[in-house]
Amino acid sequence: MSSTEQGTSSAAPAEPTTAPESAAAPEVPESFYYVHGKDKVVHKVSAGALQHSALIHGMISNLGYTEEQAKANPFPFENIDGDILQMVVDWCNQHKGKPTPPEDTNLPKQKEKLFDLVLAVNYLEIKELLTYCCKQVAMMVKGKSPEEIREIWMIPTDAEDEAAEKEAKKRAGKEAAGETAAAAGDAK
């Protein structure tokens, strides 16, 4: 695996020994784990931050990796985009060992990003972040008329949806017919 190792965020320490939170804690060196997303970029995350994710936490406790083993075998999350995973890792680091606030205002406002984040968080089982994301989605729906919701979320009406589906089928049919005609021409 060709991996580019990088620190996760400015809040996260470059090396475990210099971590400010571990300096405050009495002499317990913090262990680190490694994760990568679709883009194969490896993110270094402390075990404390990873506790937010029930999925990763379960994997760590089942595998019993040492830090060296963890470094050699980063957890692969091929279904999560690199930038989304970065967002998740940042959030976990920021909220490491802290009580989660009632709301988080740093979530992405663009719907594609937000939905990708929701899917990643749901997969990684990060309950608090999922709550924030879902709340944000709900807030974007609240107080809007069906037309406004359709426009914001780019949801076609049933009629538009049906027409688009028919059109797509028609186009696919035409393309398939064209391909077979071309293949027949080639065979000749």
Binding site: N122, T157, A164
Partner: protein, 336 residues
């Protein structure tokens, strides 16, 4: 709208194709009114809402009046939606500014203005019924129907009628003291009972709102054929009234629960009380007596049958701006 003609499915996630756990979490933060609007966005979303929410709705009030249709519904967690369907011609110029909707805490008021009021009501009603579940809690508290709107009642979704338990069918006539009007009321009642067969246990109240006499009867498990005898034969003239009241004091029938008379009607207490044992007011709680006043009247009489064991008459006289209750009479069927 052209840009939405690309089917938004497949690679990029959209609101409709998120996992159900996520839908349930999102819908948790939406109130019934928002869920209803979201359900209007697409059929797919409506189905999702249906599968992933647990709102049940009971109808408090449906009024199919001659001029306006309104409904008031309450969700399982006590959100209230008051929806009034007005004719578009009545739309005031300022409604645009307020989006025809007010929101007070857990209560939403929607004033909708429609070209075709009955059709719009049925459309909204059917959608509400299809979105929110209405199994055991599905109940209409009050259903007010104008005779002209009876056909609308029969056009409500079949599922709705099957699940409904209607407590009270209220028939009101403003001219109940005229025989032809009373007959019309009876005919309408029969028509309702035969058109909408949902009153397994029902109560009917007839009222005359001509300003003189309000007369209510409640029937339980009554065959509609019995209505003729119970209502038409009751005359509303003053002579009959005295005997009616006298009998009412001691009758054992449960069908008549209250009768209110105001000063305009002439009734003779001597006739009513003749031969009846009376007992002085025994200091019972004042809240047991329901009073009925009418502005402009010098005297107010309230006759209440609290339960079948006794009845109360309270008489008040207007003094200045207030009323002074000067007589309370309790009637018992048997001497204690």
């Amino acid at each position: 709208m052209g840009q939405y003609l690309v089917k938004n499915r497949g690679n990029s996630p959209d609101l409709a194709n998120l996992p159900d756990t996520v839908h349930r979490e999102i819908f948790k933060y939406l109130k019934p009114w928002d869920l209803f609007k979201l359900s209007r966005v697409s059929t797919e979303l409506r189905n999702l809402i249906n599968e992933n929410t647990n709102f049940t709705i009971k109808f408090h009030h449906i009024c199919l009046d001659e001029n306006v249709i309104s409904m008031r519904l309450e969700s399982s967690d006590r959100y209230l939606i008051n929806w009034t369907f007005y004719d578009a011609s009545r739309k005031p110029y300022w409604t645009k500014r307020f989006l025809n909707k007010c929101h007070y805490g857990k209560e939403f008021h929607i004033d909708g203005y429609y070209e075709n009021v009955p059709q719009s009501f049925l459309f909204v009603f059917q959608n509400i019924v299809s979105i929110f579940k209405g199994e055991e809690h599905f109940k209409v508290g009050q259903l007010l129907v104008h005779p002209n709107r009876l056909d609308l009642l029969s056009r409500l979704p079949n599922d709705f009628l099957k699940n409904v338990n209607c407590d009270k069918l209220s028939i009101k006539s403003t001219k109940a003291n005229q025989e032809t009007e009373r007959k019309a009321s009876i005919d309408f009642t029969k028509k309702v009972l035969s058109t909408v067969q949902l009153f397994k246990n029902f109560e009917i109240s007839f009222s005359s709102f001509d300003g003189n006499f309000e007369y209510e009867k409640q029937f339980e498990n009554l065959d509609s054929s019995g209505l003729d005898d119970c209502f038409i034969e009751n005359r509303f003239d003053d002579i009959y009234l005295n005997y009616f009241l006298k009998n009412w004091m001691f009758t054992e029938t449960k069908s008549i629960i209250s009768c209110r008379i105001i000063e305009k009607r002439i009734f003779n207490l001597e006739v009513i009380l003749d031969g009846l044992d009376t007992t002085r007011w025994d200091g019972r709680n004042w809240s047991e007596i329901r009073n009925f006043y009418k502005s402009g009247a010098e005297h107010s009489f309230n006759l209440t049958r609290e339960d079948k064991s006794y009845a109360v008459i309270s008489i008040s006289k207007r003094i200045g701006n207030g009323w002074n209750e000067f007589g309370i009479l309790c009637f018992y069927p048997q001497k204690n």
